[in-house]
Amino acid sequence: MNITVKIKRFDPEKDDAARWESYSVEADKMDRALDVLMDIKWHHDGSLTFRKSCAHGVCGSDAMKINGENKLACSVLLQDLVKEGGTLTFEPLPAASVIKDLVVDQSGFFEKYRAVMPWLINDSPAPEKERYQSAEDHEIIEEATKCILCGACTHSCPSTWADPDYLGPAALLKAYRYVFDTRDEESEERLKIVDSPNGLWKCYTIFNCVQACPKEIDITRWLSALKRKAVTTRF
């Protein structure tokens, strides 16, 4: 099918502000949105810049705003985005500084991730065998471990748009994953970090993150559990 692709472009060495560029593209309805971008880069304009790697939704490189919603370009097909003759738009993730075209600076996003101490803390002597964890206890955190840290959620969150320093759903979900891991011994310290002015309480259960998540994680549900935990632990 023939579609018009509009891309919000920005070249830091030439442009003062972002500009829209349009391309007319021949594509198949079963193509991924990423295939369209690659086609443009390879056959129309080699300077078009975007991140990609696994191309099937597990590495999290290509989160961007497609037709106004944050998605992974490799995890959505054209047939679900655009009709014959229609227009498909690509923009970089909102609330992040743009490096070039669709590439955004994710250093702030990962700074938030590092802030919640995203690692297992257990200083008890390690047993010979694995630390046991019941299947039920594992299930509490299982969905949260699906997160690929693509940033679609955090950059879809109105609280993040307003306050760029808000920890955001991705980092808070990571905190949840460790606070609720029965093997972790340091949930109190982590709760003190998320229970801060830039933390958990800026989640107003807007559910944009849930809608944006390409791994279909019910983020708000787990953040609410984290809130209840913070309340019962801290006073």
Binding site: P12, G46, A55, G60, E130, A135, D137, E142, K146
Partner: protein
């Protein structure tokens, strides 16, 4: 500018992070240089599991695991290394669990295990549950946990730095790398006491692959350019079940949980080829069987695919144990595996060969196993220890990464403790790199990387994939010669300095051309069929002449040399391979 660290690791997938973590645990100053953010590494795409004889679900022993691996390798694996890996496996998995990897659990709360192709009990009797898993995202949770631990240990990460050169002294000691900072377009030198390559595989030289776009085998090329040989490159694993046309991986765990392959007649054809283990035969066999079915006209609708039937497995298992592959089928093909079979075809998946190393990750530069390159280490898919021989068993790749990543990390830390000196850098270490980049950028007329790459992928897929013969291999070699000429005029449209991915595409195609020959040449010389290397003109295994490793020495435009190296055999004498 010049950065200085004890240890510089190139690549931040499972092997690189494991090496970084264990070296950092020993107190070394570790830097990890990667062309992607570490969490984008392709280890994250590993689905089904990681093999270790934990015996959590049923009786198991590391020796059975070693036997399966040797047999799976079609006896080309070095048995001392295989024994080392299978012995280290349970300990390493337990350590991963202690680091926080969220494995799926048994009812007792132990690490859950499932069946996988080629893994058997009591030396081939029946399938055994040996693959430790976290649903079908085992690689993903291992990658994330390792990165988290490295961040905790304050490993220094240089994200989105493309390594472009390996630095060696006159005397052949490795002392650093040169890397291009993608964000700024600056070239930097990394000066180190030890350099470790964990740069992953080369799936992207083939048209249909389960590998990431980043899987361009950069490390192989850098090693070849530095005069290091590549071992057993002709052994390329094609995973039997890639989504039709797309090549996206459908884990072998799907068959481990009961999935069945069927041809156009609805027949469970693997029963004919492997009566004992059926659909759980090793990947080389299953891929070859699928191609045979297709060639004999039993592909579905006359097309080049067969069906992976999961409909009898049940919604419960698909939703809980294989959620990702269900999503892939639904998203990319619009097929619900609960109700319809999944169209699958073999997809290029894994490089058995690579940079030859010993069990401590030290790179060996000739047929003599004690002839190591001081200061140069390799681990993961880019290395060839060799534990996979002619065909890797499922779950052994993640195991290879973590076992040898761990050993390499510890070995590097020990080495710099023993000898705490950095070999001095040469006068202008960045010159070669700058010259290459500038000449690409300055070229105004030439060919874009994409057209060269497409032709490379086409010829490799057509001539060097599952079935090969002398004619196809000769054709591929002549194509490669032609491509090698074309790549000299590779050009870029993006002339900017910042985040120039166009330039990176050009650099990658230059890399690919430097090792693609190793695959085709090794395959042409090896006049037998063994494991994943299947010659139509030499259809049987020939232990008398070919029970040996290939060593490829590239000489750029002057062609290449091929040497051979003996296989280490300890316990298991080569036998006919039947399943």
């Amino acid at each position: 500018m010049t950065f200085s660290h004890d240890i510089v690791i190139v690549g931040a997938g499972g092997a690189g992070l494991m090496a970084a973590l264990y070296a950092a645990e020993e107190g070394a100053d570790v830097a990890v240089v990667s062309k992607l953010h570490p969490l984008r590494s392709h280890t994250g795409a590993a689905q089904g599991g990681i093999g270790a004889a934990l015996g959590n679900e049923e009786e198991d022993s590391w020796l059975w695991h070693a036997f399966d691996t040797v047999k799976g390798s079609d006896y080309l694996g070095d048995q001392d290394a295989i024994e080392q890996m299978c012995k280290d496996a349970p300990r390493t998995i337990i350590e991963l669990e202690h680091y926080g990897v969220p494995f799926s659990r048994t009812n007792e709360g132990k690490i859950a295990q499932r069946r996988f192709g080629g893994h058997t009990r009591n030396f081939g009797e029946a399938p055994v549950r040996r693959a430790c898993y976290a649903a079908d995202r085992t690689g993903h949770v291992i990658l994330h946990t390792l990165y988290e631990q490295c961040v905790k240990k304050q490993v220094r990460f240089y994200d989105e730095y493309q390594v472009l050169d390996l630095l060696m002294t006159e005397g052949g000691t490795c002392n650093g790398v040169v890397a291009y900072e993608i964000l700024t377009g600056d070239v930097h030198t990394f000066h180190a006491k030890a350099v470790c390559f964990a740069t992953g595989g080369y799936g992207r030289v083939f048209k249909t692959t389960s590998n990431a776009h980043a899987g361009t085998g950069d490390g192989f090329a850098l090693a070849v350019r530095a005069g290091v040989p590549l071992q057993d490159m002709e052994f390329v694993q094609f995973h039997p079940t890639g989504l039709y046309r797309l090549g996206i991986l459908i884990t072998e765990g799907a068959r481990g949980e009961g999935g069945i392959l069927r041809n156009s007649e609805g027949e469970r054809f693997m029963e004919r080829y492997a009566p004992t283990v059926k659909d759980l035969a090793p990947r080389d066999m299953v891929s070859q069987c699928i191609y045979t079915e297709i060639r004999e006209g039993r592909g579905i609708n006359g097309k080049e695919y067969v069906h992976l039937d999961m409909t009898h497995v049940g919604k419960e298992v698909l939703e809980h144990k294989l959620p990702e592959i269900s999503t892939f089928s639904r998203v990319y093909l619009g097929i619900d595996p609960v109700e319809q079979p999944i169209p699958v075809a073999p997809t290029c998946h894994y490089a058995m060969g690579g940079i030859p190393t010993n069990v401590d990750g030290q790179v060996v530069r000739s047929g003599d196993r004690s002839d190591i390159v001081p200061g140069f280490y390799a681990c993961g898919e880019c290395a060839c220890v060799s534990v996979h021989g002619a065909n890797r068993l499922g779950t052994n790749s993640l195991l290879d990464l973590v076992v040898f990543g761990r050993r390499t990390g510890m070995a590097m830390a020990a080495a710099i403790k023993a000898d705490n000196k950095k070999a001095a850098l040469s006068e202008n270490p960045e010159k070669r790199t700058r010259d290459t980049l500038e000449s690409i950028m300055a070229r105004s007329d030439g060919e874009k990387a994409v057209s060269i790459r497409t032709d490379l992928q086409e010829t490799m897929m057509k001539n060097v994939s599952v079935y090969r013969n002398d004619d196809t291999l000769a054709e591929s070699l002549s194509d490669l010669k032609d491509l090698r000429r074309r790549v000299k005029s590779v050009t870029v449209e993006d002339k900017g300095r910042k985040f120039n991915t166009d330039l990176m595409d050009a650099v990658e195609i230059l890399f690919m051309m430097d090792y693609a020959e190793a695959i085709a040449a090794g395959a042409k010389n090896r006049t037998e069929s063994r494991g994943a290397h299947s010659r139509e003109d030499f259809s049987s295994r020939d232990d008398e002449n070919w029970l040996k490793h290939t060593l490829f020495f590239g000489k750029g435009d002057d062609g290449y040399d091929i040497e051979y190296k003996d296989v280490t055999i300890t316990r298991f004498q080569p036998k006919e391979r039947k399943y």
